[in-house]
């Protein structure tokens, strides 16, 4: 038995000795050590990159899911964000609530002929600089070329973003002025003085410079007591959500019963070509 084991031992050793590497070969320890150090450096770098990537990814995903952001060209909407949509689809089993009938529109927000073939619904936020530029530069041309000629009916809708502290207050003043019969004057004045009242939210001061004292008193009264102002703003917000607004200002063109969201309205020449094509 012992002999057999010894025999196996010799036999196996003999086979395995053939694997012995050549004596000429000398592993280079210094080079090996340098490679281990390099491996460590790479591993540390990858770890750092991994940590930063994870942190950045988390921030981006959280932002996408839950937070509205301000874009250079305008402002994004607080309309139902990705997180809310996912929540709705996963936990309630439905992706979007069914649309209810369109909310009633305050008459002072509409300009132009009721028989015009096209209706343009303009969504703005009073603290959005791009909205102010549009309202003061592009809307007058639109009024002259299309509204006054009966081709288009213009509707101005409020879309106050939650990231702007005084937008809703400004919208309340504009609607109050609308109830008092001075809507266009008030809206223009609010946009003209955006830089001023945006600092402290005092919308009343610039308005009182263009409205007569008794008209201003009526406006104050509506702002103080009229709960329908908020309903009007909320109705516009609801329409904006249904139109899936991504930014302010935005324009929705209604023609032949179809609503079409026009993403960029700051270029009047482009808008004109689009409207002319629809009209012909």
């Amino acid at each position: 038995m012992e002999n057999r084991e010894r025999n196996d031992n010799r036999w196996v050793e003999d086979r395995l000795s053939r694997l012995e590497p050549s004596n000429d070969w000398r592993p280079d320890a210094e080079r090996g050590l340098e490679r281990v150090r390099e491996r460590r450096r790479v591993a540390r770098f990858r770890r750092r990159v991994g940590i930063w990537s994870t942190a950045a990814g988390t921030v981006i995903i959280t932002g996408l899911l839950f937070s509205p952001v301000c874009e250079a060209a305008g402002c994004t909407t607080p309309a139902r964000n990705l997180g809310e949509r996912l929540w709705l689809s996963v936990f309630t089993g439905k992706s979007e609530p069914k649309p209810a009938p369109a909310p009633a529109l305050a008459p002072y927000k509409v300009t132009g002929s009721p028989t015009a073939p096209i209706t343009c619904e303009l969504y703005t936020d009073y603290q959005c600089p791009a909205c102010a530029r549009l309202y003061l530069d592009v809307v007058p041309m639109l009024l002259t070329d299309y509204v006054q000629t009966g081709k288009i009916r213009l509707v101005h809708r409020d879309f106050p973003l939650t990231i702007h502290a005084f937008s809703r207050s400004a919208a309340r003043y504009a609607n109050a002025a609308g109830k008092a019969g001075f809507y266009d004057l008030a809206v223009t004045r609010i946009f003209q003085t955006q830089d001023v009242w945006s600092r402290d939210g005092n919308v009343e001061a610039p308005l009182s410079q263009v409205l007569a004292p008794d008209a201003m008193e009526r406006v104050r009264g509506f702002v103080r007591e009229d709960s329908s102002l908020d309903k009007t703003i909320d109705a516009d917000l609801e329409m904006g959500r249904r139109d899936q607004l991504r930014q302010t200002p935005s324009l929705v063109v209604v023609a032949s019963g179809k609503r079409q969201l026009v993403p960029s309205v700051d270029n009047y020449a482009l808008l004109k070509r689009y409207l002319d094509a629809l009209l012909h």
Binding site: L16, L19, P21, W25, A29, L33
Partner: protein
């Protein structure tokens, strides 16, 4: 009778000293298993990198841990290489011409021994490989975490299995 009091502070592990002490032996041990010495050095570097990351392995038994890890890494590499060759053969049935290095290294005996080692139970393959690399019974017990009293028996069985498998595949030389 009093129990020995363990040191409250562990002495810091000197990685570079351990590297210089063991690197050549580890690389040569791996070179016995894999064909290419260059690849053997790469795997040895990987083994030491693992040691650097594994605090538990850094201690008095570092030699045993290194031998065990080196053998396992070598055997894993051989199995991986065999798999790769099988897949390559499957997709490219016409064999490519061997490189001069491969021709030089294509010792039939070596190939057979490696083949048998990869087919054996891993612990037995580790035993016969480490023994053939010159480790004593005590070193084998430390490296493979075995009872020193049973190393001889286990090694004998492993050698029997190796021989039986070899003869079954290639006949008695």
């Amino acid at each position: 009778m009093t129990a020995p009091v363990p040191d409250s502070q562990e002495s810091p592990f000197d990685f570079e000293s351990a590297f210089r002490e063991y690197y050549a032996r580890v690389a040569r041990l791996i070179a016995r298993i894999v064909r290419d010495p260059g690849r053997a050095e790469e795997i040895a570097v990987e083994v030491f990198y693992r040691l650097w990351r594994n605090r538990k392995a850094q201690g008095e038994k570092v030699g045993g841990w290194l031998y065990r890890t080196a053998v396992r890494a070598g055997l894993y590499e051989v199995r991986r290489e065999a798999r790769r060759e099988r897949v390559a053969h499957f997709f490219r049935p016409s064999a490519r011409p061997a490189s001069p290095h491969e021709v030089h290294e294509s010792n039939e005996d070596q190939r057979r021994v490696r083949e048998v080692l990869t087919k054996m139970d891993p612990q037995r393959a580790e035993l016969v490989l480490l023994r053939s690399a010159g480790l004593s019974y005590a070193e084998l017990a430390a490296a493979l975490d075995l009872n020193p009293a049973s190393v001889g028996t286990l090694l004998g069985r492993a050698q029997q299995v190796f021989r039986k498998e070899y003869v079954k595949r290639y006949g008695e030389p």
